[in-house]
């Protein structure tokens, strides 16, 4: 720093001291001036970022704080990717065609609970749940129907599936094959982030080690056969929704990511062979600036660790590409129109944070899956943002903001401190086994709940500005029992028409291979092509791997 600069800072220090005196003397509102983790200062100045190297950064250059592409959004806008799925495959197929016609640029599949947990629609445990929270997919036949008339070599598809992810991925690849698409051209993502399931979302099937094995099998197999496919979407969304703070979301998600990288390397894979296809998924919560800073810090931390710790050389291994979703947990059932506003602000934060892909929630989602009208507004929210606000015109427009840079630094150092703590408890997997990670989240969640119930945090329409609404007056989507009935007959038809001998053969081969350390992807794909059902394939591996038993932590 030059003498002139030092003098400049001294002068500023004096100014700030004067401002502080006036601030302290003035009357202030009684409110909680805090983001998810901390009370924030009322003012940030150059003093807060003095000496900060970030000032010299540009987008597209290591460590990518300001963005992963030199072009920002001028090269390509973010993908408008609305998560959708309900009922049976034909119904969801219709919704996808509608969304594509309305300008959605990528598809995102929501599966129902039975599918998420690896149960067929006609399994006893599925009763009452088929098609309620997403689309029911029990075999290749359903997957073919889901994308009927939608060319899979032209559209990128993201599938939110974890426990049985590799099975659904096999259905997808086989469905694309049937369409005549080339696997090497398939673009999309499977979420397949099992660590956060044990931590937060709880949609697991197998115990931790076999689950990690399947994920690395997929890293290796996809690198060779589906090289444009994102093999994993390392997620903070669910961790945040479970009650974590922004710093915890940041640290736990990245720690999960590093664990997957370690496992890939342990398998003997070259980091630059699979890391380029790792992607991320962040929650976009209420505190506008905290979320922007979080995303910037995330890019910076990932790049540094990948290069310095794992020796990645390919730029594509260093850049954090991510999808975002506006925070479901911030939506309210009371005065649901307010949700449109919340989602708009959150969407703007996501874009200012440089997201590659975005889902905006619909206003009615605290009560049901979205109606066509509600989802249209959600999509328009992104389109207005993209085309009318001017926000995408400049890359990282908040770069250089005293507040945002200071907050980025702060979240980065908090994440690093949490990485150290995670190491101390033995790493992510140990942290899950002992419940340490779950307890961190649970404590944050309780604290936030308390803040809301004590009315220290205002939720408009819920604990303040309440109206005596009586009944809710927006129309809601209803998914009835017809989906289940229809699925049962679809499945009966499929079972009747398939080659049973082949099914048995393929499942036996898979089961046997699961006992070895062979890569299971090709065998799962063979089962998919033979129209083995989701549960049949899952059960074959479960015989060898066992099932996960939840250790309950409060």
């Amino acid at each position: 720093m030059t003498t002139a600069e030092m003098l400049e800072l001294d002068r500023l220090r004096e100014e700030v001291a004067q401002w502080r005196a006036r601030f302290d003397a003035a009357t202030k509102r009684n409110a909680l001036f805090a983001n998810s983790g901390h009370v924030v200062e009322p003012l940030y100045t150059a003093l807060d970022i003095a000496g900060d190297a970030a000032a010299a950064e540009v987008p597209g250059e290591f460590p990518f704080t300001r963005g992963i592409h030199p072009t920002g959004y001028r090269g390509k806008l973010w993908t408008m990717r609305q998560f959708a799925g309900f009922g049976t495959a034909p119904e969801t197929n219709a919704r996808y065609k509608y969304l594509l016609s309305q300008g959605q640029t990528g598809l995102s599949v929501a599966f129902d609970f039975p599918t998420l947990m690896g149960y067929d629609s006609d399994h006893p445990r599925s009763e009452g749940e088929v098609g309620k929270c997403g689309v029911a997919i029990s075999s290749l036949a359903d997957m073919e129907t889901l994308f009927e008339g939608i060319p899979l070599d032209k559209v990128s598809v993201s599938m939110t599936i974890n426990g049985p992810a590799v099975i659904l991925f096999a259905f997808y690849v086989a469905a694309a094959e049937k369409q005549g698409a080339v696997a090497a051209e398939l673009r999309g993502t499977i979420q397949n982030d099992i660590l956060k399931e044990y931590m937060a979302q709880h949609a697991w099937v197998y115990p931790i080690e076999p689950a990690l094995r399947l994920i690395v099998d997929n890293f290796a197999w996809s690198a060779e056969h589906v090289p444009l496919w994102n093999t994993i979407s390392i997620s903070g969304y669910h961790i945040r929704e479970a009650g974590a703070t922004a710093a915890q979301e940041l640290a736990f998600t990245l720690a999960d990511g590093f664990t997957y990288v370690e496992r890939g390397i342990a398998r003997g894979l070259d980091v630059d062979d699979f890391a380029p296809r790792l992607s991320f998924f962040w929650d976009i919560h209420n505190d506008f600036f905290e979320e922007i800073a979080k995303l910037r810090a995330a890019r910076r931390i990932w790049a540094r660790h990948m290069r310095e710790r794992f020796g990645a050389k390919d730029t594509r291994s260093l850049i954090m590409r991510f999808h975002s979703q506006t925070a479901g947990v911030t939506l309210t059932a009371q005065q649901p129109m307010n949700n449109i506003v919340r989602v708009a602000y959150q969407a703007m934060a996501a874009v200012l944070g440089g997201t590659q892909s975005l889902h905006t929630n619909s206003m009615d989602e605290t009560l049901a899956l979205p109606t066509e009208q509600a989802v249209e507004v959600a999509l328009r929210t992104q389109q207005v943002l993209a085309y009318e606000t001017g926000v995408p015109n400049v890359a990282d427009p908040l770069g250089g903001s005293y507040y945002v840079e200071a907050l980025t630094d702060k979240l980065e150092s908090e994440a690093e401190a949490l990485f150290t703590k995670i190491e101390e408890v033995g790493g992510v997997v140990r942290g899950l086994e002992t419940g340490w990670l779950q307890r961190q989240i649970s404590e944050s969640s309780s604290r936030q709940q308390w803040e809301v119930e004590q009315r220290r945090r205002t939720i408009v329409g819920v604990n303040d500005f309440v109206t005596d609404e009586g009944e809710l007056t927006i129309p809601l989507l209803k998914v009835g029992a017809e989906a289940e009935r229809e699925q049962r007959s679809r499945m009966a038809a499929m079972r009747a028409s398939r080659d049973d001998a082949l099914v048995k053969l393929r499942l036996a081969a898979l089961r046997d291979a699961a006992k070895t350390d062979a890569n299971l992807m090709p065998l799962i794909l063979d089962c998919a092509r033979a129209y083995c059902t989701l549960y049949e394939i899952r059960a074959a591996m479960e015989e060898v791997f066992g099932a996960y038993r939840e250790p309950v932590f409060f």
Partner: protein, 355 residues
């Protein structure tokens, strides 16, 4: 919905789970008619083997209990489990989280699980737990497992109501012999060091065996004290292991076992040790002794309970006591003279016979 006792007992004897649950609630809360209920069940009590599981939180007791239950079920034995968890001293509420760890047996008709809270009772908890165990015994369970957390005095008392007490420890909770509460070493019939794959597990087992061996060695008449100990031949750990393995000991030396409950390892050996202990109790007369003790304790409890109800809830007694306060203040009476007079006045009250 209140049921007549006859209907309840009829359902109970018919093996209806809902009736068992209701009976336990009556007993647990000492509701009106509980003594009549216990009286009617009395002839059916005494068949079951009772196993106590205790140890600090996080040791894996529930996991081990779950595995034990599954093993017993494979032998076609019916099992009742009482899982005791602490009540909050501030709110009086409790989160009873043991049942959730036994999901594998949740729908097995041969298994019954009941969660109880300590309810902050100063003593009395072990009595209540013993009574609940009696009800399960009367219902016909072959094995009753009483699981409690912690190694506080209350938990130790509860464990005493069992025939065999297992104390589960883990290396990483900082357990070392020195930090264990006094009394734990004495009540354990079997020690289990769980999470045997963690560092420190072997050392903890050795420490326990050493302590047990020293105790046994120190009481053995053949070993000279202090400087005269022939170190080459005096091997406390060997003494401990030999004694624990002996089929016909005069005295039971606690077995020290290792388990890895998360992998299901060591449970068979644990159950074998429990069986061995039970046989020892039978042949040594210890079983009879423990059961007689339980009965004696129960009488003490009931007497204390009746005393409280008859004496201290009697309005005339309270009134009379108030009149004595002035005398005590003036010095013409002392608490002792007042107490003696109270007792001699209260004959009819205590016997429950109206004058």
């Amino acid at each position: 919905m209140p049921q007549s006792f006859d209907a309840l007992i009829a359902d109970f004897e018919a093996g209806k789970m809902a009736a068992l649950a209701r009976a336990i609630s009556i007993v647990e809360n000492h509701r009106t008619g509980y003594d009549e209920l216990m009286t009617r069940l009395h002839p059916r009590i005494g068949r079951a083997q009772r196993l106590g599981m205790t140890g600090p939180p996080g040791a894996g007791k529930s996991t081990i209990t779950n595995l034990i239950v599954q093993s017993l079920r494979r032998d076609n034995l019916r099992v009742g489990v009482v899982a005791v968890d602490p009540s909050s001293p501030f709110t009086g509420g409790a989160l009873l989280g043991d049942r959730v760890r036994m999901e594998a047996v949740a729908l097995d008709p041969g298994v019954y699980i009941r969660s109880m809270a300590t309810r902050g009772s100063l003593g009395g908890l072990s009595a209540r737990t013993a009574e609940v165990a009696d009800v399960l015994d009367a219902f016909g369970f072959d094995r009753i497992i009483i699981e409690t957390v912690g190694v506080g005095q209350t938990e130790l008392d509860i464990a005493r109501t069992a025939d065999t007490t297992v104390v589960v420890l883990v290396p990483e909770s900082g357990d070392s012999i020195q930090t264990l509460k006094a009394g734990v070493m004495e009540i354990a019939d079997i020690f289990v060091v769980n999470k045997g794959d963690r560092p420190g597990a072997d050392r903890l087992r050795n420490d326990i065996e050493l302590m047990l061996g020293l105790r046994r060695g120190a009481t053995s008449a053949n070993i000279p004290a202090h400087h005269g100990i022939p170190l080459k031949t005096f091997n406390p750990i060997r003494i401990a292991r030999d004694a624990a393995r002996s089929e016909n000991p005069e005295e039971w030396l606690p077995a020290v076992l290792g388990t890895i409950a998360s992998k299901g390892e060591g449970i068979d050996l644990l159950l074998a040790a429990v069986d061995r202990h039970f046989r020892y109790l039978q042949t040594s007369g210890g079983l009879k002794g423990r059961r007689r003790n339980r009965l004696k304790n129960q009488v003490t409890e009931v007497v204390a309970e009746r005393l409280r109800a008859r004496l201290w809830e009697d309005p005339d007694t309270i009134t009379w006591l108030d009149t004595q306060l002035d005398l005590m203040e003036a010095g013409t009476a002392t608490p002792f003279s007042v107490a003696d007079e109270l007792l001699s006045r209260s004959g009819p009250l205590l016997t429950g016979v109206k004058p």
